[in-house]
Amino acid sequence: MSARWRTGSPGQLLLAAALASFLFLFLILPVATVVYVAFTEKGTGAFTLVNFADFARTDLFVRSFWNSLYVSAMTVVIASAFALPLAYLTTRFEFRGAVLVQTLGFLPLVMPPFVGAVAMQLLFGRNGSLNLVLDDLFGFKIGIMEGLNGVILLQAIHYFPFILVNLSTSLRSIDRSMEEAGQNLGAHGLRLFRRIALPLAMPGYIAGASLVFVKVFDDLATPLLLNVKEMLAPQAYLRITSIGLADPMGYVISVVLIAVSVLTMWLAARSMKGRDYATAQRGGGGLAKRTLGPREAAIAYAIVILILLIVLAPHVGLLMLSFATVWSFSPLPDGYTLAHYTRVLGESSIYIKNTLLYATLAGLIDVVVGGIIAYLVLRTRVPGRQVLDWAATAALAVPGVVVGIGYLRTFYDVKLPDGSSLASAWIVIVLAVAIRRLPYALRSAYAALQQISIALEEAAENLGATKTRTVRRIVIPLMTGGLLAGFVTSFATASVELSAVLMLVQTNADAPLAYGLYVFMQTPAGRGAGAALGVIAVLIVAIGTWLSQRAVDRSQRAHGLDL
């Protein structure tokens, strides 16, 4: 490595400073205005750690902590079981409909708030379709959705696309010469996958799995919708939004959440340390795609269809709900109608426009910021670059409602030229959502860059290219797949973000779909309409995802085997 890699150039320092101030202004400052209470003594406001001692002394919190840990770990296991076969089959074999599978496999990530869990209850709950039929035929029921198991299943379905997307991207960017080398040495089939492809795709798997773990650890909506409260994130939320408004414990829990998230990411990064996943030769078009024999193909399709059926169950339920008249204590709705769609169509166009605008902007901000941070961390020696990474990652753990309140507190008194408050400008919603989804894009960019050999950049520079030109002509093109994956993940999840939005929306004209959906889902007559809005949200994201998948596939093919 040349000495130039060891020190930050002025340009890099400037870039780092700009990002640091961005993160400080829109993440650290707003969150600090809320969370500092955790470290103050009641009455005097002096600094203290007694609140953390209280945390450790309270049975409820300790129990919640272990429950959260258990659920997160189990979710990673189940989510991997969903993601591995899908990723392997669609990238490793000539698989008809691979793009479709990738798109469908991505959809669960877009589970609109409320309706996903409602739909799952209607299908698999204690008195859901499955159990009503079972009870009728055989006189027993199975408690799939009961307690922590229900949370694990729903979370695994919801978040396994993180692993799928990142792992598939990694698998695609493995140099096929590695596999050929393996084959020459006599490995094939599963052994080849296990010893060559899987280890080389580790950055993607770890990026996805650590995201799943942290996301589940910090998610409050799914447990609450299944009436599981004894987990850490729901405890923080319940306290902050109700009785504990003046009490530090809600914020103490938030601090614990942030600490665990950052620790997890640190461990994930450490497990990758000292190993080199980069391969120098690019343009090999990823792994060689094998053709399946008829029997293999039948098995492969059976597996893929089974997994898709499980993970798309919430969406199937959602679709049924959106067409149902009344669906109450029966395996199927009483009747079907288009009324819910006609009801929402008129007023949802503004929601759709806002959602597209906010989610696209948030996704773009995330890819740019995440890409730069990944570059600074992996390719430069700018002092404090690691801090940028941790700070951005911590955003994952900050409860949305804390972000919401923090933004109101920090920006409400900042006046725009026309006299209105900055906090009431819609761009603030975009920033809040972008900050909350930044970690997704960051992890994807990180994984993508880890797989690019630094030798390629050095070669470019040896040939006289400037640093900027190298980034533009070498790094960015090679990272495209990863950046696109990051954009899609951020975009898709941003389009259904609710908790921070709920605090910040000030007029209906600025409201995104998730807010409209929330408003519908609070009323008996609004359930079908809410589901219809949910279907529209899913469709928007599905189309977006499909287009990007196709773009990736095309570029792969263009640089692929014909080269």
Binding site: G128, N227, T241, I243, S330, I405, Y412, G526
Partner: protein
């Protein structure tokens, strides 16, 4: 041409409505759902030409918090919600402006609850009562009896079939619990609440999650405010509702926010809500609130409850809002620590008690009966008295505030372990009783 038409329209509008300044954007923060706000918005905009109602939907707590955080340059004209408690909080923080409605013909009291705030900071525009709703298909399939009173829900057949929301999360459930506590007294009231809670399927964190679970048939019975049941019926769900003997009618309120940007518009909206047209809108199937104008009931569909005629609804308990406000936080936290977060232990104990009592009903045994009664007392035991709950020391622990008092987390842990110990003891006694009775 277009311009002059516009001018004429504007002039006409001005002529039609005396105070021209009332037109324009009226911003309201509300916990009411779209089903309620949409018809009222349409009717208001029709009645007051030129006015537009900008509805910001937030739950009650978030709404209060929002007004607090944005008071430095308030952009909201009205706060519009059910829970009188929330209005008391806003009032105590000087976030409301006083206004005396001009409308005539509005009742002074609904049931035995005064319609308007005694200091004139908020006005009631509709009334609601608390009760029990159930899913008829569910009840039929499980062959369950229909309940008439709160105590019915504590009986053995209802085990694992009932749903309620946390009082700390839902203003309406808080009032339900407070109503039972005021109607039956602190000790007996909590006994009832805990006996019902032993039969719970789950405790939800949103008020609407309860009717939602009953509507979809996930649970059979829900403790809810009446309009949840009525509007569910309006949406076609197979549900029924009953007012128990100990209930109270409480007004849903509207108040003008201090420093409202469009004060005239805010007043116009309140006047509209109390006008005959506004009150009639409350009868719509998706709203189903009880109007505060007695004459409006003439236009109501059959079987619509009428608090001005129905003897039962008139003799209901007088709700003491001041007492309620003073012990809000302790009551909520007690419920969460003794019930919400101990639900598994409480249910296991209750199940053991149901089994012991069933065995006793077949074959009586004095010793076993004594054990069961001791076990019931253990379940009902409270860590603090009502005097303590309303005492300044305990209230201060939940207020945050300036004083250095006991920390909320300390008290919670004490109360939780108090309950946990007693539930375990009670379960042991109930199991012993079952052995004796066999």
């Amino acid at each position: 041409m277009l311009r002059s038409t516009l001018l004429v329209t504007t002039l006409l509008a001005v002529a039609a409505w005396p105070a021209a300044a009332q037109t324009g954007k009226v911003t309201v923060v509300t916990s009411f759902s779209k089903d309620v706000t949409d018809p009222l918005k349409r009717a208001f905009e029709k009645a007051v030409p030129g006015a537009t109602l900008e509805v910001q939907n937030r739950n009650t707590n978030a709404g209060v918090k929002f007004l607090e955080e944005t008071r430095s340059s308030n952009q909201v004209d009205l706060f519009w919600a059910s829970a009188p408690d929330a209005f008391e909080v806003l009032k105590s923080k000087s976030l409301l402006a006083a206004y005396k409605p001009k409308a005539r013909g509005v009742a002074e009291k609904v049931g035995s609850y005064p319609v308007n705030d005694r200091d004139g900071f908020y006005s009631g525009f509709a009334a609601s009562g608390y009760g029990i709703m159930w899913n008829e298909r569910y009840v039929r399939a499980n062959r369950l009896p229909t309940p008439k009173d709160w105590q019915d829900l504590a009986k053995a057949p209802y085990f694992d079939h009932v749903s309620i929301s946390q009082p700390s999360r839902s203003g309406t459930t808080h009032l339900t619990i407070e109503t039972i506590l005021q109607g039956e007294g602190w000790e007996k009231g909590w006994r009832t609440v805990k006996e019902i809670s032993g039969n719970l399927r789950h405790v939800t964190d949103r008020s609407f999650a309860v009717p939602d679970a009953v509507n979809s048939g996930q649970v059979g019975f829900g403790v809810v405010i009446d309009f949840f049941a009525f509007s569910s019926q309006g949406a076609g769900f197979p549900v029924k509702f009953v007012y128990p003997t100990v209930t109270t009618l409480v007004p849903a309120n509207v108040g003008i926010v201090a420093n409202a940007p469009n004060r005239a518009g805010a007043e116009a909206f309140i006047e509209f809500l109390l006008s005959p047209a506004g009150q009639e809108t409350l009868l719509e199937p998706t709203i189903r609130r009880l109007p505060v104008r007695p004459e409006t009931y003439a236009k109501a569909p059959a079987e619509y409850p009428n608090p001005f005629k129905d003897q039962r609804l008139q003799s209901l308990l007088t709700f003491d809002a001041l007492l309620s406000e003073r012990r809000t936080a302790p009551v909520d936290v007690l419920f969460d620590q003794l019930i919400t977060f101990q639900i598994d232990a409480l249910k296991a104990t209750t199940k053991a008690l149901h089994e012991a009592e069933a065995a006793l009903a077949k074959k009586d045994n004095a010793a076993a009966r004594k054990l069961v009664s001791e076990a019931r007392d253990l379940v009902a035991a409270m860590p603090i008295t009502d005097a303590q709950a309303a005492s300044p020391e305990i209230r201060a622990a939940f207020a945050g505030g300036r004083e250095k008092t006991a920390r909320q987390a300390e008290l919670e842990q004490q109360w939780a372990s108090f309950a946990k110990e007693r539930y375990a003891q009670a379960k042991a006694k109930a199991e012993e009783a079952l052995k004796l009775a066999r």
